[in-house]
Assembly symmetry: C2
Homo-oligomer: 428 residues x 2
């Protein structure tokens, strides 16, 4: 048995302890984690500075560097985030269904932690703190693999978190892993690890999905679109197009494709062209779009399947809401799609027929986020239709058990022509 | 593109139609299905008789033959089942969460059908009717593969169901497939099929899980156990042991292992020995068990990992509830495990610490069933911790969408030091 295997087995025991721990213990653990990170910030920043200088020597991009640096204000937010998680209602033991099968014979469906969750994420130290906090709040043990560039920062954070909680959680519940070999070993640990949540590049998430039989929650692509309906308010559409594309273009919930109803193309597209040109957004447009935005690059079919993640987008004029919905069905990655409209029927159809995790009307696609949704925090965004869809907070980290309490009931009594009937009385 | 591929693409279009159809349309479709099966019962029975006589020539087992025969009373139950499904509340569009992010900026999480579900099941014609009914009620299109022996019966049932609903559902939503090649092709249809629910032998379910990247809900093993605690009522324990083992030994929710606390072994085990001997149940017992039931076969470690599915079981004496819980953790398939106890603390610990889909107190494991649970019907029982766990009814066939309705909100307004705060007011 490898050392890693041994560690994960210990974590699995710790998961049982955490799962059986009271709400109060998990709350106090979160507050102890917050206090410890706050108290040890000098040491954390020292390790982080070493990570940053090594990354700079390797010529890391500015965007990645920005994510890697653990500033005082980011540490403040991380500490505050843990304290806020402590204030959220306990997700364990919630009654989802309650039914009397026969007088005094009570069935309940209650929430319980999933067990051991492996989370693989990018080089953001604040992500590690948030994910560890979600694990404690939800009663799940966590195997964490952060970005390589944040290695020293992650190591000290895991060590501080472990030490802070070991007095009140009688078991190991957090394990940091670092190498690609360890990640590959984890992918093979069916039966020891219950769920994998990968974040990162499309190709990495796809790699994880292809190399494990453990359930995976995540998304590989984020091809989000905004459709401006015939009835759209022009100024609102301009505002939403700009925010969806440019507020943070590298995010998975940034829009890549804009669809414009032909009736408002003459009034909307010139304004979009002007706004996007001044913001430096490259437009790939179809012929109709280029009629109104002559400087747009001709779009190929490929452009409508592209997740640019930069100041670049594809624009297409459509003849109807049907064509917009059809385009989304065949091109979107079913992450987040929005309509701008003042027609309630159009909104209703879009909400009904667009089959994506997040379907929005009259607001930016960038709202697709666990914090903005009020979930407390998120471990990621799921484009799977199974288990959890969209931003995944505490809820997505829970499973359920059916608990049935009787007084000696047998199925034989309820079987055959003379068997007792069930009365199935809903108790909630 | 193969013919099957083409058919599944048509079904996928039908899924969108079914998903957008009203509650009333889906209810009427179920009643039309019920009427048509009722009206065509002579033709159905003729096809079934042909299946039965072919199966008899092939020397099918009595148990399988019993499942295959579609008697008038089974047809009556199937028809009644469809009418009952029509009476269940609409599972589509239920609001699971509702929150105001800021005044007038409303987020809802609502249920929607998953899409196209492939279900592979045994040679029971009533299963086909029930599964087709669950698909219509939940708004999902269905690809159905029944047992080979029921081929003619399944073909006429699919044809009757399709014809009965085509007047009110404007699209193809049900597809019967028959060959192993078609099943293998379906396993590769990622993106066209959203979920696979296999039922059947352990090795078959495992084969499906190993050969597809489409999510699978199901269970491979059903090693269920009953633990008689020190405080158990002896007569109740005997009754529950007998029902759990013998009421229908071939079912996945029948018990395979019995654990007995050492303090009640002297009073319980002789009675169990007597009862099981008279019912023809073979006992594999540990040394302590054989002290009280001398005719028991010595148990090997392997016996505690065996799903007998016949009148055979493993019995073990344990020193404590801890040992019982530990045994279940390392041997159970986490399907259904029960405790017999009169001690509330023991029950609470068992409910908390046993990590199985169904955890019961003072009743038979055989209650683990969608109909008995009051779910209306079930497509199967899941031992996965993800998405659906235990008996899977309409709820397990739904996914959710996050619907966000605004008035032009951008993330930029809510960002940075001067950004507006979210007020995240719960509306339910």
């Amino acid at each position: 048995m490898s050392q890693l295997d041994d560690s994960v087995r210990r974590i699995r025991k710790g998961a049982a302890v955490l799962s059986a721990s009271s709400d109060d213990v998990r709350k106090r653990a979160l507050l102890l984690m917050a206090d410890a990170i706050d108290a040890e910030r000098a040491a954390i920043k020292e390790e982080n500075a070493a990570d940053v200088s090594a990354a700079e020597k390797e010529g890391i991009s500015d965007a990645l560097l920005h994510r890697l640096v653990f500033t005082d204000s980011k540490i403040d937010s991380a500490v505050l985030g843990l304290r806020e998680l402590a204030g959220l209602p306990d997700p364990i033991g919630r009654v989802r269904e309650k039914r009397e099968l026969d007088p005094g014979f009570i069935l309940e469906k209650r929430t319980f932690p999933i067990g051991v969750i492996a989370m693989i994420f990018e080089a953001r130290p604040d992500a590690l703190v948030q994910i560890a906090g979600l694990a404690v709040r939800s009663g799940n043990a966590a195997v964490l693999k952060g970005g390589r560039e944040a290695g020293r920062t992650n190591r000290i954070l895991v060590s501080i978190i472990r030490k802070a909680t070991e007095k009140i959680i009688n078991g190991e519940w957090i394990l940091g892993i670092e190498s690609h070999e360890d990640v590959n070993a984890v992918l093979g640990m069916e039966g020891l690890i219950d769920l994998i949540i990968p974040r990162g590049s499309n190709s990495f998430v796809r790699y994880v999905m292809d190399h494990t039989r453990i359930p995976v929650i995540g998304h590989s692509d984020g091809i989000c679109s905004v459709y401006a309906d015939a009835s759209a308010d022009i100024d609102m559409a301009v505002r939403i197009f700009i925010d969806s594309k440019t507020q943070y273009p590298a995010a998975c919930n940034a829009a890549e494709t804009f669809l414009v109803h032909k009736d408002i193309a003459p009034s909307l597209l010139p304004k979009i062209g002007e706004a996007f040109r001044s913001l430096g957004v490259v437009i790939h447009g179809d012929e109709e779009t280029r009629h109104f935005i002559p400087w747009a690059v001709p779009a190929s079919e490929e452009d409508y399947h592209t997740e640019y993640l930069t100041l670049e987008c594809a624009v297409k004029v459509v003849n109807s809401i049907d064509e917009a919905i059809e385009h989304i069905a065949s091109h979107s990655s079913h992450h987040t799609d929005a309509i701008v409209t003042s027609d309630e029927d159009a909104k209703r159809r879009f909400f009904q027929e667009v089959d994506s995790a997040d379907v929005f009307a009259n607001c930016s696609t960038r709202f697709a986020d666990g914090f903005r949704f009020g979930l407390g925090a998120e471990v990621g965004i799921s484009t799977s239709k199974i288990h959890a869809r969209g931003p995944v907070g505490l809820d997505g980290l829970m499973t359920t058990k059916w608990l049935l309490s009787g007084h000696g009931e047998t199925v034989a009594e309820y079987s055959g022509p003379d068997g007792k009937p069930f009365h199935h009385k809903e108790l909630m």
